[in-house]
Every structure is written in structure tokens, then in C-alpha cells.
């Protein structure tokens, strides 16, 4: 029987069936579930690596070692892993090596909207792009065949709508593969100039061979309907186009998005009257088709920004606009918020109160940028909080050093914060770095990391001490605070800002959503005592609201962290369970 599977789950199933033996990844929405699902198969060794570069290098090593290997990441993760990718393109593989990269058109959960196809072009490796879960599985398996046939890494490109949509998948058994022999071969695996010069022409020939493959392979398929409109498309755009146009158009669906075929596109173009390219994000296919001298509509009709949809295709190509109903009222937005009891809240309240410049980073705590806490000045990429703060302070001098901090999560610190801290210590800025240690990788949905003491399977593992890492880097001032203890947070922040040397504050308390975290009974407001001063509203707790001028605590949301109570000058919050 067919199973309903998330695109990511189907990729994991593809890895399993293809006999993949080693998986190493760093979590990142929308790619995370691939590795989580792969870890459920005992036949596959799976791990969370500290970052995407490490993950990819592990996978390259495993491939050279003779096992089919894999790593997954979100689009910005591929920036981190770009270095090994470009040279793995030269070394090629021993056993098959596949990389999944998940783009996020529409930026549902990302800091930018980059198009990963450019990496396939730049690193000269083939890229496949599925349009549903069945293809996620099939293309993952095909990627291994291509990897071994053409001696190349292969990238599987997903986007949010493919990774996070469930559709039907037929499962097949695993093909168990013997470990391939490893033979020392410096000409292939040692990329220094003498060897690399010989490999580059091989890479160029490989792309020519792969283009030949693209002309005839069944990954690129024609679906002929009415020939007035022809559509060349890929990934989720194929689904939107087909729903909107049905048989009233013809399609060339590209499952292999790099390298692109030439003759296949010319043939298709000859069969249709008007040719459109429907592709999300950049005009990659469009440029290729235009370079062939074929007249085509693409980004003159469809946007470079955000997602495409069936209505958009219907409107642009058939002139149909849907009939809709809407209220005239303004509907307030409902942005994501830090959860009730979130340990980051107390720390961000302290930063907000002290009006410091906050160099931010990527994680749940990026939500600290939103009102009412509004305690973040910058967020660029993983790890940039610490290095960015150092640069900010070098530019602005001593006065800035006593009024600015970097905030970074435990997982992000392991990912790429440590090198920034080494720079702070080595190049001596009196920067204050706050590590928000909630004992988990939070935003992506609770993955273990090197500081948590557990591995991907939940088994005990080596636990890296943040304090010792900081001390080893030469940071002499390291203090640990509990972010529920606002008084101590405030005192320690002031001390470390005043200190004339680099310092680290570790704000330590596990994520309130972790299963082992015990919650206190919910607080209630003693109506007579509440003066309606709204002091408790400054922390942006989703469990507290004002009703008829008095604070009210939502009993289903409150986890009894007590932060509101410690801010109340009138003792209006009654600790649950205390009543005699």
C-alpha cells in the first residue's frame, strides 16, 4: 500500500533503499526531517555534525571510504559547506555521494531567499529537483546511480513546498551494498595544484557527458497537451502550472536542473507557439533558453521573489482571477513568539532594560528582535553575532564595548561561534558575549548538539563544556546565570559590560518545551492587587494579557516560570499550588 510521506521522509526512504550507509547533517528548516527520518533506519549510520561544512566533509570521507553517503542542509547551509563542495567536484567519489539542499522560496523560516541552483552551476555538479514525495524517493536513488556512473557528487534540490508536503509513496526494499574497496590514489583524492590541474579538464568533460545524459534521460519529460502554450518548469512550479493549465498547455518538466539539455529544449520549443519558463526564484532556465536564441517569456511574467502559485499561473496565462471574500476589518498579524516559560525571555528583558546594542544570531532567540522586547540590532548569519560585535566595537571604540553584547545559542556557538570568540580573544576587543544555553537546538525542533550530552539517537554522548571552551580560548571572565533570575542577570550583565577584557556570560536553562523540564503550576492574578501598571506586559509573554485594565494569566499556557511575578511591584501574581 502507498504511504503518505513528507518529501523529506521520502528522501530518507530513498537513502535507505539505495543502500546509503553514512549520513551527517546539521539541522536547518526545511531540510531537518530528512536526517531525523534517516536516523530511524538502523542500517544507516546517522549523526548531527556541528555545522554543514563538517557534515559534508564527513560524507565525502565516507564516500571515499567506500559507503554511499549523504548530507542535508538548508540553502544557507550550503554557503557554509561550499568549500568542500567545490573540491569534491574535482575528486569525485568512490561510493556514491549525494547532498540534499532545501531552498526556502517565500522565506517561511530563513534569513534570505537564495537559489541553490547557482551552486550546481558554479561547482559543476549535477542537480536533480523532485516535484513530489514519490520523486523525492526516486530521485534520491537515481542521484546515487549518477554519482557513481559519472564519478561526481550529486545535489538533490528541494524547496519548502516539496520538503514539507506529504504525498503518496510506494516503498521498496533496501539494496544492501558491499563496502567498496578503498585504494590509495593521490591523483584522485589529493587536490594540490599538480593533481587538480589534471582533474579540472575531467570535470569539464563530465559536465559535457552529463548534458548528453540530460538530453535523453527520463528525468526530463515532455507532457503534451494544447500546443498554443508551452511551459518549461521544475520542482513545485510544475505542480502549480499543471493545476492551472491542465491539458490546455504542454510541459517540459525538468527533473534535472543542472546541466540543462539543449536539443530537448529546442525540440520542445519547436512544437509550441508561445514558450514560458515557470521557475521559482532566479531565471536560471530562462537564461539558458535565451542563450540558445529561443524567444521565451519568464521573469517578464513571473516574479523573481517568493513562491509561485496556481492562481498566479492562471492569472498570467489565462487571465482568470479568483472570486474571493474578505472582511473590511484589519486582521492583526500573528507573528511567532517566544513560548511561555522560554528561558530566553528573561535574558532579553535584561538586555532591553539596559538598552545595549545587541549583535544577534540565528535561532529561536532571533524572536527577541520583535516587540515588546525588541532587543536585537543585527542578525546576518550563523555565528555572525560574535564576529560582528567585535568589528562593531573595533569601529566604535571603548565606549561601545561597555554598551554592546553578542547573543548566540549553544548550537549556533558550536556551529560557527567558536571561531568568532577566538578572534575576540586573539585580537583583544573587550566584547561581551552571551551564550544562550537552552541545552538543545531549538528552532528546528529539538535536535541534539555537541553541548547536550546526547547523540541523534538520544544515546549518551560526549558533552562539550562551554565554560571550558571559552576558558581554553583565553577568556578569563566566564559567568553562568539562570535567566529566570532577573536580578542576577542584571548584575552580571553590568559587571561584564564594565570589565576591561573580553567576557562570556552563559545564560543557562533548558528549553521549556523539552520533555524532561518540569513545569510549575500556572500563576494567577489577584485582581484586587493588580493596579494595571502593565509592568508584566514588558516581557511579551503570550500567556499574559490585559482584560478590563487588569492582567490575566492564561491557565493553559502558563508554565509557572515566575518572570511576571518578579516584575510586579504589587505582588499581584499568585503562585499556583501555594494556596492552603
Amino acid at each position: 500500500m502507498k504511504q503518505l510521506m513528507l518529501g523529506n521522509e521520502a528522501v530518507a526512504r530513498g537513502l535507505f533503499e539505495a543502500g546509503c550507509g553514512v549520513v551527517s547533517s546539521y539541522p536547518g528548516t526545511p531540510s531537518t526531517e530528512i536526517t531525523e527520518e534517516a536516523a530511524k533506519y538502523d542500517e544507516i549510520y546517522c549523526e548531527w555534525a556541528p555545522n554543514e561544512k563538517v557534515a559534508m566533509e564527513v560524507a565525502i570521507g565516507a564516500s571515499i571510504g567506500g559507503k554511499r553517503s549523504f548530507c542535508a542542509m538548508k540553502h544557507v547551509g550550503l554557503n557554509v559547506a561550499a568549500d568542500p563542495l567545490f573540491t569534491a567536484s574535482y575528486t569525485g567519489v568512490n561510493a556514491g555521494f549525494v547532498i540534499a539542499v532545501a531552498d526556502d522560496p517565500g522565506m517561511h523560516s530563513s534569513q534570505n531567499e537564495q537559489d541553490s541552483r547557482h551552486y550546481a552551476i558554479a561547482s559543476k555538479v549535477p542537480m536533480l529537483e523532485p516535484s513530489d514525495s514519490a520523486e523525492c524517493k526516486a530521485f534520491a536513488k537515481r542521484a546515487y546511480e549518477l554519482s557513481e556512473q559519472f564519478d561526481t557528487p550529486v545535489i538533490l534540490r528541494l524547496s519548502t513546498r516539496i520538503a514539507h508536503s506529504q504525498s503518496l509513496v510506494e516503498t521498496e526494499p533496501r539494496t544492501e551494498l558491499p563496502l567498496k574497496p578503498y585504494e590509495k590514489n593521490p591523483q584522485k583524492y589529493v587536490m594540490m595544484p599538480g593533481m587538480a590541474k589534471k582533474k579540472h579538464p575531467v570535470v569539464e568533460q563530465r559536465i559535457k557527458d552529463l548534458t548528453e545524459y540530460a538530453e535523453t534521460c527520463d528525468l526530463n519529460v515532455e507532457i503534451m497537451g494544447d500546443t498554443k502554450i508551452g511551459i518549461i518548469t521544475n520542482g513545485p512550479s510544475f505542480q502549480y502550472a499543471r493545476e492551472a493549465m491542465g491539458d490546455s498547455a504542454s510541459y517540459l518538466k525538468l527533473g534535472m536542473v543542472h546541466p540543462l539539455p539543449v536539443e530537448k529544449i529546442r525540440n520542445f520549443a519547436r512544437k509550441v507557439e508561445t514558450l514560458y519558463i515557470i521557475e521559482e526564484l532566479d531565471d536560471v532556465i530562462e537564461r539558458h533558453v535565451k542563450a540558445l536564441g529561443i524567444p521565451v517569456h519568464g521573469k517578464d511574467t513571473f516574479p523573481l521573489i517568493g513562491e509561485i502559485s496556481q492562481n498566479m499561473v492562471r492569472e498570467k496565462l489565462a487571465g482568470e482571477v479568483p472570486d474571493t471574500t474578505a472582511l473590511s476589518d484589519d486582521i492583526p498579524v500573528r507573528p511567532p513568539v517566544m513560548c511561555a516559560g522560554c528561558p530566553h525571555r528573561g535574558l532579553f528583558y535584561t538586555l532591553s532594560k539596559n538598552k545595549v546594542m545587541v549583535s544577534g544570531d540565528i535561532g529561536c532567540y532571533t524572536l527577541g528582535a520583535l516587540a515588546p522586547l525588541a532587543a536585537m540590532d543585527t542578525t546576518v548569519c550563523m555565528g555572525a553575532s560574535i564576529s560582528g560585535l567585535h568589528g562593531f566595537n573595533k569601529a566604535r571604540g571603548e565606549e561601545s564595548e561597555s554598551r554592546s553584547v553578542a547573543v548566540i545559542g549553544d548550537s549556533t556557538f558550536m556551529h560557527s561561534g567558536m571561531t568568532g570568540l577566538a578572534n575576540v580573544a586573539y585580537n583583544a576587543s573587550n566584547s561581551t558575549v552571551i551564550i544562550l544555553d537552552n541545552s538543545i537546538t531549538g528552532m528546528t525542533g529539538h535536535q541534539q548538539n555537541p553541548t547536550t550530552g546526547y547523540n541523534i539517537k538520544g544515546d549518551p554522548a560526549a558533552k562539550i563544556s562551554l565554560e571550558k571552551v571559552c576558558e581554553a580560548m583565553g577568556i578569563r571572565r566566564v559567568q553562568v546565570v539562570d535567566p529566570y533570575d532577573l536580578k542576577t542577570c542584571d548584575r552580571v550583565l553590568k559587571e561584564e559590560l564594565a570589565a576591561k577584557e573580553p567576557s562570556v556570560i552563559i545564560s543557562r536553562r533548558p528549553c521549556a518545551l523539552l520533555k524532561y523540564v518540569k513545569h510549575n503550576p500556572p500563576f494567577t492574578v489577584v485582581s484586587d492587587k493588580c493596579r494595571g501598571c502593565k509592568s508584566c506586559m514588558k516581557i511579551g509573554c503570550p500567556a499574559i494579557s490585559m482584560k478590563n485594565g487588569k492582567a490575566v494569566v492564561d491557565q493553559t499556557l502558563c508554565v509557572g516560570c515566575g518572570l511576571c511575578s518578579s516584575l510586579c511591584a504589587f505582588d499581584a501574581f499568585d503562585k499556583g499550588g501555594d494556596k492552603a
Binding site: K2, L4, T29, P30, T32, E33, H108, S109, D132, T160, R161, H164, S165, Q166, S167, L168, P236, Q239, Y240, R242, E243, G246, S309, Q310, N311, P322, D323, T324, T325, A326, L327, D329, D330, I331, P332, V333, R334, P335, P336, V337, M338, C339, C364, L367, L370, A371, P372, M443, T444, G445, M537, G540, P542, I544, S545, M546, T556
Partner: protein
């Protein structure tokens, strides 16, 4: 032209919309249709507005529901019903829990929670069924069973066998919560059709 049926499940992150879509997805497979279920994970789950698209038919193309396409919107919260109203097809059914959860801009006083939303949606011509699913869930034994109460209400608007729903609930709900959830489904299913 396209016979695909579209259902949207909308609510607030943490309200249990994912279980509702899982039960619905399993029911659709048992009924023998092609199906796609699409949701966004990550940022939007931290108390933000959440939406799941469920589509089924002989062959489903797009995994998402677009404006004016939803045959049914199943809303866990009033404001979310109003937010996604433009997705309702003309003649479509809007089922909403009457619960109100203030979003952060309302909590901070930067915005106001609009009044009489259900009346206003009806005035727009929408076919609205509003019910207090929280009370029904509590009557079934758990406030958390709102999702299954609402699936019960939804079942009245879909031509699936009762066995199909029962089997899907059995498949998706942990054994220890089965009794509560079966009761919640029955309370929803026997709720008077609006």
C-alpha cells in the same frame, strides 16, 4: 476542470492542527484518493498563525490551496478564520471554533482584536458554522481534544464512512488517549449542522 477537493486547517501554533491534518490525511487514503498535505514547519510554529492544506481527488497537482479555492476551512480560532476567509471558495463551508486567542500585537496594545467576527463573516455571505469546540473537548475529557472535536464536525461535510474515520483515529492517536478522542470525535460529529 479540476475535481480536486481542498480543505484548509488553520489555527495558532500549539493548538494541535497537525494531528487533525494527520487524521484527515489517513481517512482520505483509506477512501482511496490521491492526496497531498502541506504545512510549513519552523518559525511559524512558535505561537504564530499556522495553516495546513489538505487536497484530494483522482490526481492532485499543487500541494497548496490558493485564494478562493477551499471547499472547507476548518478553523481552530476566530481571528484565524477571518484571516483565511479569502481562501474560501464561493459556496464553501467555514467551520470555526469560537475560541479567541490574542496575538502579540493585541497583547501589547499595538492592535485590536476585531469584534463580532463571526457575524461579519456571515454578513459577507460565507456559510459559517461556529461552535465552542473547547467546551465539547472538555466534555470529552481533555481540552486538548479540540482538534478531534473539529474533525468530528468536519466529517459531517465529507462523504466518508464512519469506519474510515474510526480507523484513522485509531491509527493516529496514542492508545492511552484513544477513548477521549473517540468521544471527542462523536461529540463533534453529532453537533447540530449549522
Amino acid at each position: 476542470m479540476n475535481q480536486t477537493k481542498s480543505i484548509m486547517i488553520v489555527g495558532v501554533g500549539g493548538q494541535g492542527t497537525l494531528l487533525a491534518s494527520r487524521i484527515l490525511g489517513h481517512a482520505i487514503i483509506r477512501q482511496g484518493f490521491d492526496v497531498k498535505v502541506s504545512e510549513v514547519h519552523g518559525m511559524s510554529q512558535r505561537g504564530g498563525s499556522v495553516v495546513t492544506y489538505v487536497r484530494f481527488g483522482d490526481r492532485v497537482d499543487s500541494p497548496t490551496v490558493d485564494l478562493g479555492q477551499a471547499d472547507v476551512i476548518l478553523s481552530f480560532e476566530q481571528l484565524e478564520a477571518a484571516r483565511y476567509l479569502p481562501y474560501l471558495k464561493k459556496g464553501g463551508k467555514l467551520i470555526t471554533n469560537t475560541q479567541q486567542i490574542d496575538p502579540m500585537p493585541v497583547i501589547t496594545g499595538a492592535a485590536v482584536y476585531p469584534e463580532n467576527l463571526i457575524e461579519k463573516m456571515k454578513d459577507c455571505g460565507a456559510d459559517v458554522l461556529a461552535l465552542d469546540a473547547l467546551s465539547l473537548a472538555e466534555a470529552a475529557g481533555s481540552a486538548k481534544a479540540i482538534n478531534v472535536v473539529l474533525i468530528g464536525v468536519l466529517s459531517n461535510f465529507m462523504d466518508f464512512d464512519k469506519d474510515v474515520w474510526n480507523a484513522s483515529i485509531n491509527e493516529c492517536v496514542p492508545k492511552k488517549f484513544l477513548e477521549v478522542n473517540q468521544k471527542a470525535f462523536d461529540l463533534g460529529a453529532s453537533y447540530e449542522r449549522g
